[in-house]
């Protein structure tokens, strides 16, 4: 192997450089320097995005173990952007007395999970994929447990780590089948040797079950609500958007790169999982009282919609999937940014009924929240409308009419529960609403970024155009 090839892993190397820098900064900077820690981290991520903004050409390192292409580069940039937003929103939380001493760890651990996702997205070999996945999920449990004096946070972390390990076990079992049957774990080799024999299908089933856990698709979703509720709100946002987006993308690429001969079986399996995810999650979301649990179920159903693109396995579907993830990211992070700032400013109010009359006291935040919710529900002219339609478009084109119809009917249900929050904020009277407060600068900037995303991504078609131009290169 030629070691100079390693230099081709540009995003990973620059991220590692950032991580090392922050580790040292945390040690060396001292009281005074640490005051600017948050700014330094945010700027570092911005620099990282800028450095990797131009997508590189196709890269293949050590016989195709590490692969990269323009669309993969774009996905990495998107993930970094999501991380940046989450980091910005967490300033208020990290300034709290019990967290301020550990803020350095938060940054470093978060970036480590991001690094794991980078490797996962770029993998051309099941081992690298697995390492990336573990790197993304094991540190994540530390993040979930970050409020270590809060027993819910710790409980959530325990649940997360157990289910993550279990799902990794399942996935590993599937991968071992693949190795045993084909004698290789390189995606390039597997494409030639995989057939639709029962044992291979078995491998696919275990592998998909593992992915299902990470994506929190029904019936592998049971950990989601508890973990989302217990984790610190910013971590919940990170879990629901960045980590989910990475896995969703990987699901489709692995399907396209490896399991092409098993496409029929995979689609059949996915069909039921999508229907179950969308419908069951929507029904459960209606009954929720805690807003974080509520968005846990909402994110399960959104994952179902994302998978609607993954089921078709066509280039347009690939574009729609990445586009959906971006749009979902800006809308959901806007929501979590608001939930987080409300929680910090109101001593931990996270009930949906706490939001009654929110518009009267904090009209601007309520307005941003409304627009984000409308985008999640797929209401034009916000970006969510376009992303949903494109996913339906792709699935309809691939012939999944009934599935599209079920998904469409489910949008009514989802609109209903998103409107419940709108109703709470605008209509339901409340004698004791959340008092008026000023949100911090970082949150405001992040919300403005998200709002711009929600308003612009749909109407300006060039984002979709760029994604589409590159997705063929996969």
């Amino acid at each position: 192997m030629n070691y100079s090839q390693i230099l081709l892993m540009r995003p990973e190397l620059s991220l590692i450089a950032l991580i090392v820098f922050y580790l040292l900064y945390d040690l060396i900077a001292g009281e005074k320097g640490r005051k600017y820690f948050h700014l330094v981290v945010s700027l570092g991520l911005v620099a990282h995005i800028a450095y990797n903004l131009c997508p590189t050409g196709a890269v293949s390192i050590s016989e195709g173990m590490y692969l990269s292409s323009p669309i993969i580069g774009i996905v990495k940039t998107i993930l970094t952007f999501g991380t940046l937003i989450v980091v910005m929103q967490s300033d208020l939380w990290l300034k709290r007395e019990d967290t301020v001493i550990r803020r350095g760890e938060f940054y470093v651990i978060t970036l480590f999970t991001l690094l794991g996702m980078f490797y996962m997205v770029s993998s051309g070999h099941f081992l690298l994929f697995f390492i990336g996945l573990e790197m993304a999920s094991v540190p994540m449990s530390c993040l979930v447990a970050f409020n270590k004096y809060n027993h819910e946070s710790v409980e959530a972390a325990a649940k997360y780590v157990l289910s993550a390990l279990f799902s990794s076990g399942l996935m590993m079992f599937g991968i071992s089948f693949i190795y045993g049957l084909n004698g290789s774990l390189y995606f390039n080799d597997l494409l030639q040797t995989i057939t639709a024999s029962p044992a291979q299908i078995m491998a696919l089933v275990f592998f998909t079950a593992g992915l299902g856990f990470k994506l929190s698709l029904v019936p592998f979703h049971l950990w989601t609500a508890d973990v989302y509720e217990g984790a610190p709100t910013n971590v919940t946002g990170y879990l629901s958007v960045v980590s989910k987006g990475a896995v969703a993308f990987v699901t489709l690429t692995i399907l396209l790169k490896v399991f092409v001969p098993l496409l029929g079986e995979w689609q059949q399996m996915m069909w039921w999982m999508i229907v179950a995810s969308i419908t069951i999650a929507n029904l459960f979301a209606i009954r929720q009282k805690n807003i974080k649990r509520f968005f846990a179920f909402s994110s399960i159903s959104q994952a179902g919609y994302i998978m609607l693109a993954a089921i078709c396995a066509t280039p347009v579907a690939m574009t729609s999937l990445v586009y959906y993830v971006i749009v979902y990211m800006v809308a959901n992070l806007a929501v979590f940014g608001i939930i987080s700032v409300v929680e910090q400013r109101s001593n931990g109010k996270v009930g949906i009924s706490d939001y009654d009359g929110f518009y009267q006291t904090n009209p601007k935040l309520a307005f941003v929240m409304t627009i984000a919710l409308f985008s999640l529900a797929g209401i034009p002219p916000f970006a969510g409308f376009f992303s949903k339609i494109f996913v339906f478009w792709a699935a309809f084109k691939a012939g999944f009419w009934v599935l599209v119809f079920i998904a469409l009917l489910n949008t009514i249900l989802s609109l209903y529960y998103y409107l419940l929050i709108v109703k709470a904020m605008y209509i339901t009277p409340n004698d004791n609403p959340i008092t008026h407060f000023k949100s911090d600068g970082y949150t405001r900037v992040s919300l403005v970024l998200c709002l711009i995303g929600v308003l612009v991504l749909g109407i300006v078609s060039s984002v979709f155009g760029i994604l589409n131009a590159y997705s063929f290169g996969l």
Binding site: T319, P380, F385, V404, F405, L415, I427
Partner: protein
């Protein structure tokens, strides 16, 4: 930029203006300027349209332009108008204009109210100018969602329930609609979403049989098709005045317009084959709506059921598939839009004074507020189809046209539907006699005042429009007639 896009641009600018507005005066200034501009533009469009036609331009749509939007998905932003859209744009402009004046005294959260109101108008105008299925659907949905907040926040009565019911039922309809649109798009080869282009292609009959009912149902719910009309009475009764006006006046017409322009035009074979199912349903709408209106005690409910009946007539007429009937359908959209807006405006004004809409409590309004009462009588007469007003022209054309369809089944249903005229007369005359005339029972009402200038303006504009359409129908029916012809030809050729 295309001239038509200005109808989307003005409401967008109104949104921006409202965003910047600081006090009630500025808000009103923005709204009045915007609404008047829209009105001027609509009149100008009508003028330009007629001029182009008389100059011999025979293309089906005028002022067309198409801009690629999402190229990989063959989605364009395409606009164009024919006679039907021109008159619908005129109608929308009139109602937005009068709606602004009808909500002149809005106190609670004025800025937000007008913000959502402008978004709603943007959706309506955008819908009527678009000839691309995707843009059409997008504007349709833009028009729907502000309704939730407008009714939920500023409504009266059981507003939360009504708002949710309305939004969910219409969103359900739009789910069907999207399914239908995707079906049409891929059925026609998946290369274009432009209605005019698709009309030239042929969708396989098996697909038409699936997607025609879906599409028709999707639009039909908005046009108060029985049994999916139940959102309409609750929604209209709870909505604030201007929203009722815009919703009953314009938004319900989106349904009829869409059924005609999309479902029937693009899938003519299935339309001729399956129209009987919907004909029965709309026939029920027409008669049942009228009967329901007889037994209501709330003024708004009476009018809402009357709308179900009259909007049912629109769908009924287009399903008859004759040229005269479809022209009548468009005339009915116009006429009903104006009359019902006038009704809702007057009811809102009366309610603002008496704080009740209960028919049993109101009596002798003519003595207290003569201007509003005269307006109400005029609206009532126009609604029951008195010659000289628009209602007569529209219903006459519809029933004559329907009878032109020589099929026995169609004729029987035409006869059944004509009974609605009599039933309408029953409830309107009873109502007018009850609340307008007679002695004033509640002495507190004697101190109430008549209409103020803003209210008078809005009523006068609407009455003038209703009478104008009634007295000079030929100008409208000729520009409508030449535009319904291509659809009817398409239907007849199969």
């Amino acid at each position: 930029m295309n001239f038509l896009s200005i109808f989307v641009l003005i409401p967008s600018l109104m949104l921006l203006g409202l965003w910047a507005a600081r006090n009630i005066k500025q808000i009103r200034a923005v709204m009045v300027t915007g609404a008047s501009l829209l009105m001027v533009m609509a009149v100008m469009l009508a003028y330009l349209y007629v001029r182009a036609r008389s100059a011999g331009d025979t293309s089906q749509m005028l002022f067309t332009s198409s801009m690629e939007w999402y190229k990989p998905l063959n989605i364009c932003y395409a606009v164009g108008v024919d006679g039907i859209s021109v008159v619908m744009l005129l109608l929308s402009a009139v109602i937005v204009f009068t709606g602004v004046f009808a909500s002149w005294k809005m106190k609670l959260q004025t800025k937000e109210f007008f913000l959502w109101f402008s978004l709603l108008s943007m959706g309506v105008f955008g819908f009527f100018i678009s000839i691309d299925l995707f843009t059409m659907f997008m504007f349709y949905e833009i028009a729907l969602i502000p309704m939730y907040l407008l009714i939920g926040i500023w409504g009266t009565g059981r507003k939360e329930y009504s708002a949710m019911k309305l939004t969910l039922m219409l969103m359900g309809a739009s789910a069907f609609l999207l399914m239908g649109i995707l079906g049409i798009f891929f059925g026609a080869g998946g290369t274009t979403m432009n209605i005019l282009e698709i009309a030239k292609l042929h969708i396989p009959i098996e697909l038409q049989r699936i997607f025609f009912p879906i599409t028709f149902l999707g639009f039909g719910v908005l046009g108060a098709l029985f049994p999916f009309h139940t959102w309409s009475p609750d929604g209209h009764a709870s909505a604030p005045t201007a929203v009722s006006m815009l919703h009953a006046g314009v938004l319900m017409k989106l349904g009829g317009y869409g059924c005609f322009r999309v479902a029937m035009y693009l899938m003519p074979e299935a339309a001729t084959e399956l129209s009987w199912i919907f004909l029965i349903l709309t026939g029920i709408s027409v008669v049942y709506g009228a009967f329901s209106a007889c037994v209501q005690t709330d003024l708004k409910y009476i009018n809402a059921y009357s709308s179900v009946s009259h909007c049912g007539l629109v769908l009924f007429a287009i399903l008859m598939m004759t040229h005269t009937a479809s022209t009548g359908a468009v005339l009915q959209m116009l006429s009903h839009g104006l009359i019902t807006a006038l009704f809702f405006a007057l009811i809102g004004m009366i309610y603002g004074r008496t704080h009740t809409r209960d028919v049993r409590e109101l009596r002798g309004l003519m003595k207290i507020m003569p201007f509003l009462s005269v307006g109400y009588v005029i609206a009532g007469f126009a609604n029951l189809g008195l010659p000289g007003f628009s209602g007569f022209i529209a219903e006459m054309t519809i029933f004559v046209g329907s009878f032109e369809n020589t099929d026995t089944f169609h004729r029987v249903w035409t006869i059944i539907a004509t009974t609605s005229i009599v039933i309408t007369a029953v409830y309107i005359l009873r109502l007018v006699g009850r609340i307008i005339y007679g002695e004033v029972e509640n002495k507190e009402y004697l101190s109430l005042t008549d209409a103020t200038w803003d209210e008078r303006l809005s009523v006068i504009v609407l009455v003038a429009a209703v009478a104008g359409l009634g007295c000079f129908p030929l100008w409208f029916s000729s520009i409508i007639g030449e535009s319904t012809l291509p659809v009817i030809t398409q239907l007849m050729s199969h």
